[in-house]
């Protein structure tokens, strides 16, 4: 997250409407408002101009 510049591209393109911007101290930063609705399409990571996004799968997906 330290690489994020708050450009808002991930918020703009997320097909799940799962990523929203929130106001932080210096700038707006994105957060995953609806984590359950993420389809793991990877669009946010591919398009992030600052390579600030990593994908981490939740325990249910890695266990069942």
């Amino acid at each position: 997250m330290h690489k994020c510049t708050g450009c808002g591209l991930c918020d703009s393109i997320c097909p799940a409407d799962a990523i929203y911007m929130q106001t932080a101290e210096d700038a707006d930063i994105p957060y995953l408002k609806y984590p359950e609705e993420c389809w793991h399409c990877g669009s946010c990571r591919q398009d992030c101009p600052d390579e600030a996004i990593e994908i981490e799968f939740p325990p249910d997906m890695l266990s069942i």
Partner: protein, 556 residues
Amino acid sequence: MEIVNISTDVLIVGGGLAGTNAAMGASQKGASVVVADKGNINRSGDIGGGVDHFLAFLNEGQKWDTREGFLNYVEKIGRGTGHLSIIDSVYCAELPDAIERMAKIGTPLTQSDGTFFRTGSMGQPGTFWINFNGKKLKPCLGKAVRKLGCTVLDKVMMVDLINHQGTVVGGVGFHIRNGIFYVIEAKATIIATGNTNRLYENPRINPFNTWLCPFDTGDGQIMALKAGAALTNMEYMRMTLLPKGFAAPGFNALVGMGGRFLNSLGEYYMEKHNSMGNRAPRYEVVFHTLEEIRKGHGPIYIDCRHLTEKDLTHLMATLGYDKDTLPDYFEQRGEDLSAKPVAITVSEGMQAGPTEVTGSGIKIDKESAATVPGLFACGDACDHNRCVHGAITGGYKAGKSAAAYAKTISRGEDITNSMTRAKIERFMEPLQRASGHPYRQIEDSIRKIMAEHVGPRRTEQALTYGLEKLQRIEHYLDEIKANDLHELMRTHETRSILAVGKLMATTALFREESRNKPYHHRLDFPDTDDTNWCGLVVVSKDGEELSCSFEPITYG
């Protein structure tokens, strides 16, 4: 509430692969175009994050590699599920142009050396799959559509069509972030909203963990149905095989490169059950896998250990093109295709057509026109386009046809005044309720009923019972509360999902035979009956009821 009025030649509902190609087709024929999408057209739809396959005949010398060879394949795996004359018009005739167009926008279907990488599976007589790097396909299409000057309404969910004296004259929708309501008057309207994927209980717990895009919820088919359009092939419950835990696509890549299906007894069961083995049609593989699991032969695996290092390298790369995060998933789960078989499972059911070459949804003719004037359809939302190849070719065809139709229409009067403010406010009502049910509770119930009563082993009793239950749920639709615009969008999706469920149960009850088992498998009519049922079940609205009829398909 702010209401914005727009007037255009062609309105396209849905800006995925089919919708963006439709926009290009309509625009290049000189029409003004508005594209509305719940997401952002640069990354929305089934292949928003990327794709790795395109089905094509290329006339490279072999008999199967021709238009005729392809149509023979359609007849073989999709007998009774699509008119060859329509597929010929909306796919075959559009194919050379589509391949050229993809290269022109910056996503060629060729490898870096200019050649096509081709594989065969799913009952194909040769190698119809082209593997390519489509990770940037949607951004390229989004850019091309904007460059053509089309008006793009990102994050606008269309919720209804406007019907004026039996003709579709546009549609209405709202912006999912600012709530602005759009009333769009159009001379021609194209539905390109994809299939229905949050329809069945999901074996991986989370209903959004689906094979195909979980934000495709049948919205367009239901809008079209309400406007008077007929739908076909709605009885088929499509399924596939995918890694346990993650509903990532990859079936065609795994099998195309030589993957073998393995049961827990150590048997390569497809090689025993079907002369084409692991490369049998998808429905056959799913059918036998369900049978293996039922007999207690699970877990089931895909075995790729025998592949050469070169083929494994290609496989891992192409899996990552099809689902960007699948390589991460394998790594985080500790899977290694080269070292051990990977556990797989049968996916959730979905409304997505009976084969890769015949679809399900809005009934179209050779010009991609629906059965209601002013309405066209393409991609997975219609009955004669399927998959990536169907969306790219059929989308462009629908765009051209809609533009030609729009040229014949001239209007002086305001024909959208039937969409009154009171009607518009109805669409926003879930936001106003002081209390109510969350959409998810209603949706979970629909999925449970679909899985229990409208699943891969159907009977008249179960389908009738399921239909009664779905009708009972309908009463709760007007009691859903949405806390914000995001939930309002999901609430409208829930309405579509329920309507698609009812269509599926009704048409499955009507078709008294089995076809492409397990996609339509009636235990009380277990055989395929080509004498009486080789054709389409056509469903439309008759007042408030659904009415089914049968349309035969004949082969020369």
